[in-house]
């Protein structure tokens, strides 16, 4: 599904070139659950952003579902975001002036889904996350965990094929974090490809594959062993 070749991102400062990312080869297939880990400044978020087409590298090729991603025009990129990818962020990033229901609805509006159908899909999400009672509240009225749930609901309401999560549990305490990770696992089982970035070793283990970045290069790329997987409750 995702194929990255010779992705280089750097900043030039007078005579110095600082590399943020130096990924020679990375392939991710449909249905995978990949965790990207590494120390601060290792380039994890940059990598995720490039995969999500929020950023472009200085050199390299990126093939997404057999399409050369960097050559896509604006319109195609927009389609990409609409139809294939959902984003989850550490800071939730909900639109403050919209209610929970409206936030979740947002991607559907841009996809051109009709009103009745939209309402049905949103209702489904609210039900799934047990948030029906909260649908008319504003983000400022929710707790951190609830906000992240809304963020995830928005990210998946359009049934994307790929879910990108940048430190999804970063602003949550451990209980809430576990809930979120279990949810991501479930989604992955339902067929959504998940790529997450995290510092947390425990949460990394919820995934199936761990890619470690150090100084912009892939240090290791391993399958999580079955022993390390925690029990699903």
């Amino acid at each position: 599904m995702i194929d990255l070749k010779n992705i280089f991102k750097y900043y030039d400062n007078k005579f110095q070139r600082t590399y943020v990312l130096k990924v020679n080869n990375l392939t991710i297939n449909e249905g995978e659950f990949v965790t990207v880990m590494g120390p601060s400044g290792a380039g994890k978020s940059t990598l995720l952003n490039i995969i999500g087409m929020l950023d472009t590298p200085n050199e390299g090729e990126y093939t997404f579902m057999d399409q050369p991603a960097f050559q896509l025009k604006e319109k195609k990129k927009v389609e990409f975001h609409r139809n294939y990818v959902g984003f989850i962020f550490q800071a939730f990033h909900l639109i403050d002036e919209m209610t929970v229901a409206e936030n979740i609805e947002t991607p559907l509006i841009y996809k051109g889904v009709k009103s009745k159908e939209r309402q049905a899909m949103v209702a489904e999400m609210l039900d799934r996350f047990n948030m029906v009672a909260k649908k008319d509240l504003f983000p400022s009225q929710l707790s951190g965990g609830q906000q992240q749930l809304v963020g995830i609901a928005r990210a998946i309401v359009g049934k994307p094929k790929l879910l990108l999560a940048d430190e999804p549990t970063g602003n949550l305490h451990s209980e809430q974090g576990k809930e979120i990770m279990k949810l991501l696992q479930k989604l992955n089982e339902e067929g959504i490809t998940v790529i997450q970035v995290t510092h947390n070793e425990e949460f990394a283990a919820y995934g199936k594959r761990i890619v470690r970045l150090v100084d912009g290069r892939i240090e290791s790329d391993e399958i999580v062993s079955k022993i390390k997987q925690p029990q699903l409750t």
């Binding site: 319109k75 927009v78 639109i95 919209m98 947002t106 991607p107 509006i109 841009y110």
Partner: protein, 789 residues
């Protein structure tokens, strides 16, 4: 989708209450100002266009009296006989507009603004008839055409057609037509038109015989537009009948040009001022720019708060057009609401505008289909423009930095908002300077020594019948009251002096023709009014040789070239009489201070029949109200048949400056408006600046900065830009005021302190505004500021 975005827009707006209110307020006021001035300018420019013959009407002019719009009576008859190129011609006489006695039913009223005109008047000028045949109306003998209002005043709701009225207790007139009231945008204004031949009976004089009396403004329609040719023919025909008047040359002037660019300033028409229109147009344009700049400035400054939501939408699949749509609908809501409020404000202030500009603009002119459509379109374009800039800025941001709420602007952009604020202050300083300057000129006019006593009030009234006798009767009654200081008779007074004579001057063996303003007076009048004798003395009744004599003003002496020995000169040209020069008075202002001093002579002519029917009654200013009542009651007792009408000199003088006073008020309003908008803009910018500098302020305080130091840091930047604004604004204001003051022959100085004051005011306002906001920021606990890092 549409409904959604409107709901979101409203939510956004309520969250940013301060910015929104600021924008809203500024824009509404701007819209109201633009609407009012636009409708006024449009109204002015449409003056007289309702006449069918607008393009073809011409007014006569003559070279006599240094150029005059008043023609001799026989001219019109000559033209009809000899010049076929002129289709219709009509004399008019406006000199009775101060009032004529009219008796319709029981009451004897004084009706103002009645004019006399030939029967062709209504063929030249187009006025709407309500009853009666307008084209022939004045052809009937002793006819009068009255306006609707006058008809109501004289006859109530009855149809006035065919009814009779008594004029000056002498002649019966028949109402031959009733017309609609003269439109407010007509330079010719009247309440009724009397057939010209009636004048012969009122005046005991035949206007069609005397070529020496330049009394009648004369208008005509031409058959071709070969004006030069027709002028030549007129002058040729004139030479044949009056070969000795070699100095007189007649000319034709297009009526359409007269309202704004009149050739002669002695005409009886209303005039507009191009300069004022320009002034107002520019001012209002500037105000709207201020309001728009504010809006754009604030939108741009608010962008960082919007970036996140833009980013999320893009990630959720929004296209550029969706993002623009978001900004646009927000702008549209504010702009439309402002437009609506602006429209309502304009409607509310229309009466004020009409008062200040002496116009009669109707609500329908302001609010109609065309105007509303125009406003809607402009607002939509405005909304698109103001939403475009923030849209472009957010669109150019990197998606990822957007999500982190980091605005990456090139180094120049932050300066831009200061430039805008500076520009606003340029406008504000200019308007304040202009306001102060105009005020200074108005006070100069109000306090200037006019050359006669104006501290005491003078009541003026006319006694046309047996003025000498009736004056004595009235004086006997009135002088018993302590409130009445003195009384005297004259022909006219400062404020009503219009009569000019052309005579011959004999001095040291040479004879020359002279023109001068003239005021017949009775002995005692000049002393009572406080004129100051410079040479010679006042008129003395017991000295027989004083009769037929003249007292000249200094300018007359200069112009006649008799400074060497003024008392040696003699003025002839009045039958056999030779007039001596009895004395010279210091120049005094008998016209508006816009006019340079003109030659004037007081004359004492008891042998010429009594020309002095104006009664001047001197009272102390504080007793004026009581004095008025006393005069009224005594007058009514003595002359029960006569209606009582009076004026005061101060009223007349005030009239000269009404337009200037009103302009002053308008400019003051504009200054205030621009100050408000400028302040609001400043407030908005400061708010944003402080928010973005919160961290910096917190850090500085933690490192020991005192509140005053923080204040200085925040004020420093703004002060610099206000100073720059001052440097730019001052020459602009100076130039504009210089131009305006050119209109006045007597003017005040454009002192340096005017501009310094304006600059100081602007600076104080800026600093106050900045300090008020930053005081709170500076006082805040640094922990608060740094907590959200």
């Amino acid at each position: 989708m549409k409904k959604q975005s409107i709901i979101h827009t409203f939510r956004l707006l309520t969250r940013n209450k301060i910015s929104v209110l600021i924008n809203f307020f500024g824009l509404s006021l701007g819209v109201a100002a633009v609407l009012l001035i636009a409708v006024y300018v449009h109204n002015e420019l449409s003056t007289d266009k309702f006449h069918t013959n607008y393009e073809n009407i011409y007014s006569f002019g003559a070279t006599d009296f240094n150029g005059t719009a008043f023609m001799p009576g026989p001219l019109a008859d000559l033209v009809i006989e000899k010049i076929p190129d002129i289709e219709f011609i009509s004399r008019t006489d406006f000199s009775y507009s101060w009032g004529l006695e009219v008796k319709s039913q029981e009451e004897n009223l004084i009706i103002k603004d009645l004019i006399f005109a030939d029967s062709t008047f209504f063929r030249i000028f187009t006025f709407q008839s309500l009853s009666g045949n307008i084209e022939n109306a004045l052809a009937q003998p002793n006819s009068i055409v009255i306006t609707n209002s006058l008809s109501h005043q004289l006859f109530g709701n009855d149809d006035a057609l065919g009814k009779k009225i008594l004029l000056q207790n002498k002649e019966y007139l028949t109402v031959s037509a009733v017309i609609e009231d003269v439109p407010a945008n007509s330079s010719i204004d009247f309440k009724g038109v009397i057939a010209m031949p009636v004048l012969k009976k009122i005046e005991d004089d035949d206007y069609s015989k005397s070529w020496g009396n330049f009394n009648y403004e004369t208008f005509g329609t031409l058959k071709s537009d070969d004006v030069k040719n027709i002028e030549a023919k007129v002058n040729e025909a004139f030479k044949k009948v009056q070969p000795e008047r070699t100095a007189t040359v007649f000319s034709l002037h297009p009526f359409r040009d007269i309202y704004f660019h009149n050739q002669y300033n002695d005409d009886s028409l209303k005039h507009g001022n191009y300069q004022t229109l320009l002034f107002l147009g520019i001012s209002v344009f500037l105000i709207i720019i201020l309001a728009v700049i504010n809006y754009v400035n604030l939108s741009v400054a608010n962008i960082s708060g919007r970036l996140k939501s833009v980013g999320i939408r893009k990630i959720s699949g929004a296209h550029k057009s969706h993002i623009f749509h978001q900004f646009f609908s927000e702008a549209l809501v504010i702009v439309m609401a402002s437009g609506l409020i602006g429209l309502l404000l304009a409607k509310g202030f229309l009466p004020e505008l009409n008062y200040l500009t002496s116009s009669g603009i109707s609500v329908v002119q302001l609010i109609n289909f065309k105007v509303i459509t125009l406003i809607l379109l402009s607002l939509i374009v405005l909304a698109a423009l103001v939403s475009f800039i923030p849209f472009v800025i957010t669109d150019n941001q990197n998606l990822q930095s957007v999500l982190k709420n980091q605005l990456h602007l090139s180094g120049q952009k932050p300066k831009l908002k200061y430039v805008f604020v500076a520009f606003q202050f340029v406008i504000t300083i200019v308007l304040i300077s202009v306001s102060i300057s105009i005020n200074k000129q108005i006070r100069y006019i109000a306090t200037k020594d006019l050359g006669f006593n104006k501290e005491d009030a003078t009541i003026l009234l006319y006694l046309d019948e047996d003025p000498a006798q009736n004056f004595t009767l009235l004086k006997n009654e009135l002088t018993q009251y302590p409130e009445i200081k003195a009384m005297a008779r004259s022909h006219s007074s400062p404020g009503t002096i219009v009569m000019q004579w052309g005579k011959e001057l004999i001095f040291q063996g040479e004879t020359k023709s002279i023109n001068f303003f003239t005021v017949p007076v009775t002995p005692g009048y000049l002393e009572m009014m406080g004129y100051r004798i410079k040479d010679g003395r006042f008129f003395n009744d017991s000295i027989t040789t004083d009769r037929g004599g003249f007292i000249l003003n200094e300018t007359a002496v200069k112009e006649f070239g008799i400074e060497a020995a003024p008392m040696e000169a003699r003025i002839t040209g009045m039958g056999d009489d030779v007039g001596r020069i009895i004395g010279v008075v210091e120049d005094f202002h008998f016209q508006s201070l816009r006019e340079p001093m003109k030659p004037l002579a007081f004359c004492f002519l008891p042998q010429w029949g009594d020309m002095c029917s104006l009664i001047n009654i001197k009272v102390t200013s504080k007793n004026l109200p009581e004095a008025k009542e006393i005069v009224r009651s005594e007058f009514n007792q003595l002359f029960p048949e006569k209606p009582f009408e009076y004026l005061t000199i101060n009223d007349l003088l005030a009239d000269y400056y009404k337009k200037d006073n009103n302009l002053n008020k308008i400019i003051a309003v504009f200054s205030l408006l621009s100050i408000m908008i400028g302040c609001m803009g400043l407030l908005g910018i400061i708010n944003i600046t402080i928010v973005s500098k919160t961290k910096e302020i917190g850090i500085r305080k933690v490192n020991g900065a005192r509140i005053s130091e923080v204040l200085i840091m925040l004020n420093k930047d703004f002060v610099k830009w206000v100073a720059i604004a001052f440097v730019i604004a001052t020459p602009v204001a100076w130039y504009a005021m210089n131009q305006w003051l050119e209109n006045f022959a007597y003017k005040t100085e454009l002192s340096w302190w005017i501009f310094a004051l304006a600059g100081l005011m602007a600076l104080s306002i800026a600093m106050l505004t900045v300090s008020w906001q930053s005081w709170q920021a500076a006082r805040r606990n640094p922990v608060e500021a740094l907590r959200n890092e």
